[in-house]
Structure formats: structure tokens, C-alpha cells
Symmetry: C2
Subunit: 424 residues, 2 copies
Amino acid sequence: MMRKNKNSIPKVVIIGAGFGGLWAARSLASTQVEILLLDRNNYHTFAALLYQVAAAELGPEDIVHPVRNIFRKLPNVHVEMADVETIDMTNHQIRAADRLITYDYLIIATGSETSFFGIPGAAEYAFPLKTLEDSIRLRNNILYCFEKAILEENPEYRRRLLTFTIVGGGPTGIEIAGALIELVRGPVKKDFTDLDPNEVRIILIEATDNLLPGFPECCRDYSNSRLRQMGVEIYVGSPVTRITKDSIRLKSGQVILTQTIIWVAGVGGNSLAKKAGLELVQNGRVKVQQTLQLRDYPEIYVIGDLVYFEKNGKSLQMIAPVAIQQATVAANNIKRQINGKKPEPFNYRDPGFMVIIGRNTAIARIKNRSFTGFPAWVLWLMIHILKLIGFRNRLLVLISWALDYFFYERGVRIILPMRQSKDN
Amino acid sequence: MMRKNKNSIPKVVIIGAGFGGLWAARSLASTQVEILLLDRNNYHTFAALLYQVAAAELGPEDIVHPVRNIFRKLPNVHVEMADVETIDMTNHQIRAADRLITYDYLIIATGSETSFFGIPGAAEYAFPLKTLEDSIRLRNNILYCFEKAILEENPEYRRRLLTFTIVGGGPTGIEIAGALIELVRGPVKKDFTDLDPNEVRIILIEATDNLLPGFPECCRDYSNSRLRQMGVEIYVGSPVTRITKDSIRLKSGQVILTQTIIWVAGVGGNSLAKKAGLELVQNGRVKVQQTLQLRDYPEIYVIGDLVYFEKNGKSLQMIAPVAIQQATVAANNIKRQINGKKPEPFNYRDPGFMVIIGRNTAIARIKNRSFTGFPAWVLWLMIHILKLIGFRNRLLVLISWALDYFFYERGVRIILPMRQSKDN
């Protein structure tokens, strides 16, 4: 199928400026197409480092990059801020606020959003960690709890303020647990000299029988024992049944009193897919053909976290390498369609994975070789610096990490005022 | 007069962690007193660089520093977050939320706040630039105006979105005007390739007959001509009579259509002084004795922007050097009171002033010698780096400035989401 707009140059619209959207635009930029990249923000977020913003390690500005800037030198890539509301697939139109945007080809790369799985109270009281805003709100809350605790004379309420609970023992749960315990043992201990550090609890709760479900056994055990050594309390096999303003109830009936509940237990496909009436498979994620096209709309591709795609009977993870590889294939398939060729199927090449736990402590698995400890930690730092977009961000993040490593400092321990802006 | 608390160690409370509050606490820390420093935020703000946050040059985190961190090694300085509501001077008590804080000596250093002088519409529609929050809101608005303008087909409305008006031709007005025109001519021009840079207007409005009222004539003329050369439209002798959502009316009857109105035309003393019933002289500023004490409450000192203090019949400016020198004198006078000695009068030693206009362009006056151009610009950069608190901030600001200088880039062009936080 081949469609042309009035200038007879095909128009490709990409929704979402995550890794998938950016790589799709880059891959298409060398072709004779007009590309319009839409995102609700004016920046790309490096989501893997959001937890470091929450833990006062990096500034919010350090992990995002203005999208326009990335495509400045590619004249056929246009960037616009737009909160896409729905897609009229029959008429090849996107609606965003009062605008109608037409396309010849469409790549949907809106990613995932926090899913609370209907746990009562979770949506109201837990802090998600999926957006830049989430990470700033969480940081503000964590730092404010210490400021309130230092003034609180009621010991029960003070301990509740100082209990930080993380729901979800996946990679993000482990990373934020490790970052928080190091925040408490280092900078907070030095700054809040009147505070008893033994009153501070970092609790990590996982519903299944061990941390990092789906990862190799050795990595799971390593994470568990390292976090315990660092001082994190770990509850495994403990599904959460109810969340209130200041407590968590586990399936066992146990209630944990805690002012801060961080929800990293689940993500699902971005809700645009449902609104647009796409066929969903599991957890709000979209079913696509092997070529990443929609069955009934071969001009529409879905890539990244939003896609449910199986390899060897197992769903691909919601991680950047999947999104980037899918973006390249989708872009290439659009080029093939324009040239009258048949799209090719997507085949994922697994580059491995890595999870950071703390100082000198990480796990990595590359080409069936597992590393832990210092080598994995160095690898994690290097890969994440390289994945950051922009020289400035790389330099500033490197400096922040070095200052933290050598001086046990967190540079961004500020409670940012976050009131509604006047205009937007 | 000498008062002791129950431990017979005098308790000094300082309200406000600006330059005045910080220097007062530092100066007192070597004495046998307990010091409690209160601020509504958990950080000190370097207010002179707020305009650079607004102009997307620096991140908000770069110009603030956690107060606790500053006094970490001084065991008799305690820091608490508190929004002080009122002062009961008779009973030596401060009320903040549900807390009552007693003092033996009190230093009020709450600084200044934006004053709109009752101009209709100013408080509702103009953007002030006095707090970190103000600077982020203004940056968000400025960047969002460009994003909206690029989509706006109505030329009249587009020009309104691209007209940025600054009310107030004092140092801050000049600095923000210069920073905005360089933002537009550099990064914005490169990022918004579809935008006609000639449609963007930066307008600076001053009520009196020239910019920089109160400064030497040569500096005033230099600023005026340099800003005009850079492309800023300047209206002098133009008092503003009314502000609406998207327009400014001048006394002449002329109306300027503009979506963004930045109000840097006036500041007055912080409103706590009025609420506490202190004797006000002018513009909400407090009358003190030559020793910086209140006439009827010799245990209370007022320092910094909040004080109205004359030298040679002229009011001292609201600038950091005044606050710092007054802090030292107030701290010293409290030590003298404790030792049964008479407080000494404050005598201001004027270190000069400096205003930055843009790249390689500034004015400075030190010991009756005026500089302009490159030497003044270098001096401005050096002094401001040194005045920043913390090695990390100095390093990061230096890098940001260097990247801007050599690559004409602004690193922080992001529209930060600013919704209400859940808890605080």
C-alpha cells in the first residue's frame, strides 16, 4: 500500500519521543519523506534514570533533552508538542486538542504508563515513577518527610514518616531501594544530625517468591542478599492488597505504617491505544503483526513498550533496546512500502540486561555471561552515560556521579515548589 | 539587655536563609549561643541568577543549595523548614503553622517580595521573578509561547505570543532583556527553523526617563544603547497603567499586545514585617535604629532587603553586600549584648555594583571607577561564580556558561510539568 500527500512526498507521523520515536525519526530522516514527531512534552526523557532524580542524585534537567534540538539539522523532521487524544484510523487523522493532523504512515510509540492493577488506594496514595513530574514529586516528598520527622515528637508518627516502602521488586524497585538506602546512610545522616538513622526504614515488597522475576536465579539471589546487607528490608511472596494514605496491607494481613509508598509494581500500555480502539493483548499492550504493522491498517506501526511481542513464547521486556530495534525495523518497513516492497518481520537480538543496586554493586548479563559487583557497575555507568542524549547531559551526569562517588554527596536535595503554572 | 533560656545558653532565632540569614548564622556560630535558622524552603536561593533560570540558561538546582548542608559542621546551628506566620514580640515567640518557637534574640532577614504597586491586572497576569518557583514558571511560559506560536496561523495572535515585555528597567530588567534576546537570536532561532525571528519582540519598559535609575549617567546610556543594538525595544518615560491577560497599556494611551509580561518593576519588604506589626517606613520596609535593632525591642534585629536604612540621605539598595554586612554587624551586636556591651552602629562600605547585559557586555563600578564591556563582563562572571554556595553549583554553572559562550546553547530549554504535589 502506498499513500502520498498533496506534495506527493509521503508524510510519516510519529507519536512519542521516547527511544522508539527518536530512532524511528532518525532512521527515516535520510528518506524522501516528511516526518512529524509529536510528544506531549518538549523533551525526551531518559526514563532509566528517573529513579536518580527521585533519589536527589541528578537534577530533572540532566536526564531530559529538548526534542527540537535533536533534529535541528534534519530539515525533513518537524517536531511539535501535542497531547494526542485519539486516532481516526479510517481517515488517517490524529486529533490533538483543536488540531487535526493527517498522515500517510503512522508510528505509534507512546510507551507505557503506570498500572495500579485495581489495588484499592494505590492510584490515590502511591507515588508512581514513570514521568519527570513523578520523579520530582517523589523527591520532594522524600526530602519533606525528613524535614517533618525532625520536628515530630510523637515517635510512632515519626517512624511512619521515616518508613519508605517500595512496591515492586523488578529492576526499578531494586534501583530505587538501593539509591534510597545510600541517600539515608550518606547525605541524610550527615545533614540531619539530630535524627536517629536506625529509625529510617527502606522496605521493598515483591508479590512473587524472589526479587527480579524472570531474571536468572544467581542475579536474583545476589540482588536480594546485597540489598539486605545494605539495610533494605525485603518482603517477598507478599502481594499488596490495600494502600491507604499512610499504610500498606499485605495479603498475609500484616499492615506496614508508612508515609511514602513508591509504586513500581506494574506498567501497562499507554491509554491512547485503548482510546483509539487498537486491539489489545495483555496489560493494555497492542497486538501487531510480525512486521510491527496493525493487521487491518498496514500503514500503522506500533513500537516500543506499547507493543506486545513474543519471542520464544515469552513477551519482550519494556526496555530501550527493544524500542530502538523495533524503530529501525518500522522505519525500514515504511521505506520498503514506499518503494513497493514487502515489509520484513521483526527479529529481536537480545543485548542482555543490567541492573544497578548501589555503589560498586550491579548485575549484568551479556551474551549469556553474567557479571556482578564492580565490573557490572562500571559497565552500567558507561552504558547509561552513552545512552544519554547531548554532550551537556553526559558531562553533567558524569560530574554528579563522580561527586557522589568520591564525596558521598547528593547534589539535588531540594524541595522544589510545584504549584500550578499560570498559563499551560 | 541579656536574656537566657533554661539552659542559660542564649537562643538566637534567624528568620530567612538568604545572604543575610546565612552570614548571621555563620558569624554567630563561633559564640556560645544556640542558633535556629528558619526558612520556608529547605534551600538558599542565589537570587541574582534567577533570571538565568527563566532564560533557560541554568537549571533551578544550579542556583540553590540545601541550607542544612551549609551548616552541617556547626553543631550549634540548627536548621528547620518553617513558614513563619507572625511574631509575638512581647512574649518572644514566633508562630509557624502549629509550632511556637521562643527566642532570646531574633534576627529578621526575610527579604523582599514582588510589589505590583496596585497597577490593575499586574498581580493577576504578570510574571514576577523573585523566587525559584517564579523563575521556573516564567521559563515554562516563555518556551511554551514559542511552541504555540509555531502552530498558530493567525499572524496577529502569533505576534502576540512572540512579544515578551519586561516592565522595569532596573538591573534585573536589563539582565532578563539581554538574556532573552540572546536566547531568541541563538538557540530559539536554530531550534524553531520555521519561525521568522523578526516576528519576535523583546520590549523593555521603564517609567522614568532612562534605564537603571539611580546609576551613573554613563552606565545608563551604555545599557540603553547596547540593548538597542542587540535588538531590544526600549520604552523609557512610559509608566504602565493597566495590564490584562495579553496586553499592556502605557500612560501615553499606547497598548502593546503581548502574551508574556515580566514584572521586575518593584519589590517591597516581605509581608511578615507588616503582619508582625513592625514599624514600616517605605514600601513595606522596616525602620531600625543605627544598630539595626528595633527601637522598642532591643533583642530584635532586622537586616537585608527588609530594612530601610539611609546613608548620606539615600536608601541603601536591596543587594547582597548590604545584607551580608548588616548580618555581620547584627551578629556582632548580639555578641556584645550577651557580654554586657553596647551595640555598635552599622556603617555601610559600598563595594560598588555590576550589571550584566549580554555576551561580553556588562557594566561595573568599583571604588568610583566605572568599567563597561568585556572587563566588566569577566568580573561579573567571576564574582557570581564565587558568590554561589557549594563546589558542585560553582562547577556546574561554570560549565553551563562555558557551553553557552562557546556553542551559543542554552542547556535547560525544557517545559517542566508543574502540577500540585500530593502531600506538601
